[in-house]
Amino acid sequence: MDLFKLISEIEKVDPEVYDRFDSRRRVFKHFGTMGKAVTAATLPALFSGLFTRAYGQTGTLPAEIAAVLNLALQLEYLEFYFYDTGLKSANLIPAAERPGIEKIRNDESGHIKVLRGALGSQAFSQTDPPVTAFDYTGGGRFPDVFTNQATYFGVAQGFVDTGVRAYKGGAPVLMPNKDLLEAALNIHSVEARHSSHIRSIRRGSPGAMPDMNNLNQKPKSWISGTDNGGSAPPTTTPIYGPGTPATGGATDIFFPAESNITQAGVNIQTNTTGVAITVAGASESFDEPLDANTVKSIARLFRAPGNTVLFA
């Protein structure tokens, strides 16, 4: 059987076949990487997997998967409008930093598109929520968020760091659907890049020294311990703290604080050979997930008064 011929036959009756896959490139990626393993016996499984992916999602996503994706989508809107509003605010973002913030805003826009595509009619809203659905002052805690550069980037760091942990927290629920899992973890890696960049802006430049005694203002590009509570403790402290449940066995799903130094039941500080590792250093090498309820309680601070849809 000729896989490429079959796809081109399908294309004749369904011109949108490629759009049903993630993209033309990815169709060929799937086939390309399968190349060596394809046998007569594995072909039916390959095809059913591929076409379930392409056509099967006209059905309904399981409720728990839709819930994870909807929380992610709402967080993406929170971030998108935050960067978009920042870019439209005069004298806020220095000229040198504008391209980076534009890149981040545009990445969030791509994430929104993909999440909407996966959710279809199950999206929390069929239209984009307005910017007024959000309150970036956090209920008055950050009144100068769009006029004070330090406040703006401090809040930005809170958003990106919450996003990184939220996507990781959703992974166990998405596991039954490998394509959604792949997409979510990929977005998560991009959020981590954004976090690294925002943190370098906050410490002065990519080449500025962090200050372990003042991580609130001069953080590293990675999270050290609980980062001293983040940019604006106590408001930002929960972003780096434990979720629920906070503890568990090596194979359980749990959400320790970012200061955690035990992975797979192994203490990574004492497990490491070659150089002495500090507790803060040990915590930096692995990022921790956060559960949906904790993420929502952090994010609810930034929805407009009276809004009960977002982060419900």
Binding site: K36, N106, L181, S196, I253, F286
Partner: protein, 243 residues
């Protein structure tokens, strides 16, 4: 071994029957591929190339990530042993942090391999004995060191993005997601040091098309091809999962 550690055994060894089927499948695939080459009816039987073959399944994926972490940890060890003179104190602080993170990743994956008997003793010693050659990188200047680090961190981040969902065990997926964010932070930090604002440039996070906003993901086969440029013996992973 503590109870907590021995509990970290998410996936039993591949049962013999599955191994047999996998091998049978590989032979079938080879014959199908040969049959497909219509203008080459009489292929010469060629001796197997000398290469290091990773184990199959989750064990292979953990070994694969272990080798990548060794590759990057060895690199930073070398860079920091005789640092390029024009690296700033802040550059060195970043490189030292990354070095330590890679050591921790490497040694944790080694522990996971060992405590779960994922690969044979012989396989473990082969993984540890692997020598990497960084000769193609220019490591005597800041520019050269950071460019090399960028190459290595971009590869590591793309490898993790491409590998994490290939695991069959949920426990490994959770463990590896915790690594993915850190490696992506490394890639972004090194990129920003080399060229401010390039933390998510189009070559690692495309700006347009269906993949806009998505990080570059590489399948293990592509990563191993790249990694093999730095080894005397090519590393292959024909038994690694592809979906």
């Amino acid at each position: 071994m503590s109870d907590a550690q021995s509990a970290f055994r998410p996936q039993p060894e591949v049962p013999p029957r599955r191994t047999f089927l996998r091998q049978a499948g590989a032979f079938t695939a080879a014959s199908l591929l040969l049959a497909a080459c219509g203008d080459d009816d009489d292929p010469e039987p060629t001796p197997a190339p000398t290469s290091f073959e990773l184990p199959t399944g989750d064990a292979g994926l953990v070994s694969y990530l272990f080798l990548l972490e060794r590759f990057s940890a060895d690199f930073y060890q070398r860079v920091l042993a005789t640092p390029a003179p024009d690296l700033s104190a802040a550059d060195l602080a970043v490189l030292r942090d990354i070095y330590r993170h890679e050591l921790m990743h490497r040694d944790l994956l080694a522990s996971v391999i060992k405590e779960n008997s994922l690969v044979s003793d012989l396989g473990v010693s082969s993984l540890v004995a692997f020598e990497f050659n960084y000769g193609t990188f220019a490591l005597t200047s800041r520019q050269g060191v950071l460019a090399a680090a960028r190459t290595i961190e971009d590869l590591g981040a793309a490898a993790l993005c491409g590998a994490v969902q290939l695991f069959s065990s949920a426990v490994y997926i959770q463990l590896v997601t915790r690594l993915t964010a850190t490696e992506s932070r490394h890639s972004a930090a090194v990129r920003d040091l080399l060229q401010p604002g390039s933390f998510a440039a189009a070559e690692v996070v495309p700006n347009t098309g269906a993949d806009a906003g998505f990080g570059l993901a590489l399948a293990p086969a592509a990563v191993l091809t790249e990694l093999s440029k730095y080894t005397a013996l090519p590393i292959t992973g024909n038994g690694l999962p592809t979906t």
